[in-house]
Amino acid sequence: MALSGMRGLSVFISDVRNCQNKEQERLRVDKELGNVRTRFKNEKGLTPYEKKKYVWKMLYIYMLGYDVDFGHMEAVSLISAPKYPEKQVGYIVTSCLLNENHDFLRLAINTVRNDIIGRNETFQCLALTLVGNIGGREFAESLAPDVQKLLISSSCRPLVRKKAALCLLRLFRKNPDVVNVDGWSDRMAQLLDERDFGVLTSSMSLLVALVASNHEAYWSCLPKCVKVLERLARNQDIPQEYTYYGIPSPWLQVKTMRSLQYFPTIEDPSTRRSLFEVLQRILMGTDVVKNVNKNNASHAVLFEALALVMHLDAEKEMMSQCVALLGKFIAVREPNIRYLGLENMTRMLMVTDVQDIIKRHQAQIITSLKDPDISIRRRALDLLYGMCDVSNAKDIVEELLQYLSTAEFVMREELSLKIAILAEKFAPDLSWYVDVILQLIDKAGDFVSDDIWFRVVQFVTNNEDLQPYAALKSREYLDKPAIHETMVKVSSYILGEYSHLLARRPGCSPKEIFSLIHEKLPTVSTSTIPILLSTYAKILMHTQPPDPELQNQILAIFRKYESCIDAEIQQRAVEYLELSKKGAALMDVLAEMPKFPERQSSLIKKAEDTEADTAEQSAIRLRTQQQTSNALAVTDQPSANGTPPVSHLGLVKVPSMANTDRNLADQGETEPDGTLTVVDPQPPSVPSPDVLGDLLGPLAIEGPQPAHNLSSGVGIAPNAEDALALAPIEEQTATVQPIGNIAERFQALVLKDSGILYEDPYIQIGTKAEWRAHHGRLILFLGNKNTAPLVSVQALILPPSHLRIELSLVPETIPPRAQVQCPLEVVNLRPSRDVAVLDFSYNFGVQLVNVKLRLPAILNKFIQPITISAEEFFPQWRSLSGPPLKLQEVVRGVRPMSLLEMTNLLNSLRLMVCPGLDPNANNLVASTTFYSDSTRAMLCLVRIETDPADRTQLRMTVASGDPTLTLELKEFIKEQLIIIPTAPTAAAPPVPQPTSPPPPVSDPGALLAGLL
């Protein structure tokens, strides 16, 4: 046992340890506290040593969990002691006992500042540590400039500077304005050249926070981060003490890669290339080793590299490496790695289109859902939730329902919500949805929030076909001996509305239904009784001709509750009793509930609302937001006030409902529940005002919005004839926003044969195509995302002259939640790069949506790659001599890419690159066969000469036996090389060269120069 150096303190600690029980301990501690308190009272006789000793004792007692409500002043006063030993104790104990919200701390600001700007290095360190650990806004305002000075001072030892870096980080987090962005970015870039790894590590943490809040200002740091990472990954010039089990500081590597994830893209080709080399090395070079610490450290780096690769949207090849790695990880036994595999796979779903590959691992992931470790189960649940779509919803929901019975209580609520959302989003048919929700209520009623059963009621009300089925199911559940109260609620509601649809079935007469429900009444709480009363009233109304016996029974119940102490029950009983005397008028008053307006599922909203609380906003989240806001920028749409467009974990496919959110709030006031008065003076079947609010309240379909986004291809025409009686007037000017960027979606389909062509809150149009020679078959998948049908659906093809396209019949109505397939037969008549357009329109409520979409039936779909040998190539190449069969052009403004990237691009355009044919390694030669009705199969040869010094220009030569084909193919390839599909140019800030940092934003001259 090492000695503490303070005898009194050691004795006290031993005493406490020797106490036999909690009571003795408390007595000993109380005695000591009394002692300390008295000593502090007559401070005069206290030597600094004693004071120090008592303050330590206080901290020890505090750590044991006892309240120490005095002595704060003494601890703070030690900070201003002249000698180190006392000062040190003051600083340490203060930063443990107090936090930034304590008033006492203000007393110390001046002393702390004096220590920071003073000459004593040790005092500087103590002060920086206190501010770094518990400094608040006030500290930020008064100390930030001093701390900044220390960080960049050349006369300070690294010891002080690393503390200053993190202290500044704390101050920046407390008040971002205090770090002066204008000049600071250059300083940050200089700090990244730091030789001392302690300073570099601390500065990198600071950089992460700065870049996360404003990457624009820190572009000049990007190439430096790549350099740091390169140096670490290659283990060049790394001091031994900064390697951990042979790995160059894994922490610095992780932080550096983290900071890189906050830059939206890396455009400088050489920086990008270096980074990809490093990442490739990490991805391929990380082996599993026996030593746990080494293994963890190298995998910490590997997982961060994976995240960075995903962020950078690397080439296909690298992405598939990542997916393969993750696939391996989720199957290993080592729990940490498996956990991280699952977690990162979920993240991957959010950034790229890898759903299909991940689906292959479904069985493996389900195994993890049954793991004994709850941490792993949670990750598996998240992943299953994220990867769920129409194709696997049945399996996944089935698994989740099964898991529900064994899941621990802490997970059941989340699980129920997720099941309900998946069932709603991906139901292949609506009766399945009803089945799932009823099973859910049956299995985990306690964890099923009201929102869930409200939602099923909405669905049933809005879909007539579903009503008899739902009524029958509800009746079956009521037959069970013991059912959850929520089940009583939902089934009586549904039976009240729709049991008359079952009347002819055995056991479903109004009388039987009534007695079945009434049996449950004694078991339910007062919140359910109003629903039952409403149900009785509805049954009464539906019983035609009236059954006197049933009538008497029900009226007797109403009379019984007429004097009930619960106001809600009493009111309903009185009203129903009176209403029942109205005879025929009863039919109108108690008519079936009107359809609910379509709006965002409150469940999905609920899931989105659970937001994580992190120091820096997650890079993925930032990214998805940036993407969404880019999409909005294209359509010139103001983003919803304050609320960032949400794309929550696993909800990538959910329509971005930011508009609806806003309108919920707006219309809450302008659309009182009274809108429904005409139909139903007092909605009888609703249990409480809250529920009323939820079910009938804000009619948030779409709100007022400027209708100037025609440029995006989405136009809305008001259609007064179709207006719903209930629709608010503003709706007629509402617009429908496409989700995602239409141009980017098209560009993706140029390279792939299946994917999403268009999506908005109501419909999703997917395509899948097969191409054979000059024929093609393209299927349009029209998916209605709503619980109400889409009507007046029209699809017209506007084919260019070189294509013959036949579209099979498109149904006029797409039923709720259904997907219809419309095949298109395409024949290519001659070479042309014109594009066919799909003119698509539908009505949803009052809205007519019309979009014109380019169809991915384009030139490269009619070519087939072929490999060609040198013996075949050169004679052909020579025989096609000069224009018009062979055309050459110097193309400038090419998207910079490495040879490898260009090879991949050409290959995915189906131009087969034949390596080794051209003696110059900077050139690419590709061959392919083009098919059309007029040319039949025709060989095309392409040669691209690149300039390693300038990746933005190249010389391209295209040759084929048909002049039109040569020209069209050349132009087509050119278009593909120039476009930047992943980042719209407007949104992508320029990457400055490493040597020239960007001009400060405030300098108008420099800005102007930049523009010119």
Partner: protein, 142 residues
């Protein structure tokens, strides 16, 4: 970022608690109680990560002591897991073969070491040598 660091023994006695976020006393007690309950009964074969409210706790057990770091859900789990081990190595070096009693009787030294290792909820120094040397410098001044 690290929200807090806890060092607790199996019985739940706190041997070190450092908070980088402002918490009220009562909240601290609750956190310490909950984290202890969360980690103490986990099987050694389980992951070293466990969700805690809106964050996650990265923990590791050394003999009867649990070292727990509460970090953001987006943070790199393995990097923090190894920082626990690095901290233990530093303690081990400083106390030459550290045991729980060293930490009990020298809790003030442990706070000092921690302040050289982590600041503002972020790693400050990852060189064992640098930290041990610094501790030597400080001891001379006492």
């Amino acid at each position: 970022m690290i929200r807090f660091i806890l060092l607790q023994n199996r019985q739940g006695k706190t041997r070190l608690a450092k908070y980088y976020i402002p918490l009220e006393e009562s909240e601290k007690h609750k956190v310490e109680y909950e984290v202890h309950r969360l980690v103490v009964n986990r099987d050694p074969k389980f992951t070293n990560f466990v969700e805690f409210r809106t964050h996650k706790v990265i923990y590791r057990r050394y003999a009867g002591l649990f070292f727990s770091l509460c970090v953001d859900i987006t943070d790199n789990e393995l990097a923090y897991l190894e920082s626990i081990h690095l901290f233990v190595e530093i303690l081990d070096h400083f106390f030459s073969n550290v045991c729980e009693l060293d930490l009990v009787f020298n809790f003030h030294k442990v706070y000092l070491i921690l302040d050289e290792f982590i600041l503002a909820g972020e790693l400050q120094e990852t060189s064992k040598r640098a930290i041990i040397e610094r501790m030597g410098e400080l001891e001379k001044q006492e």
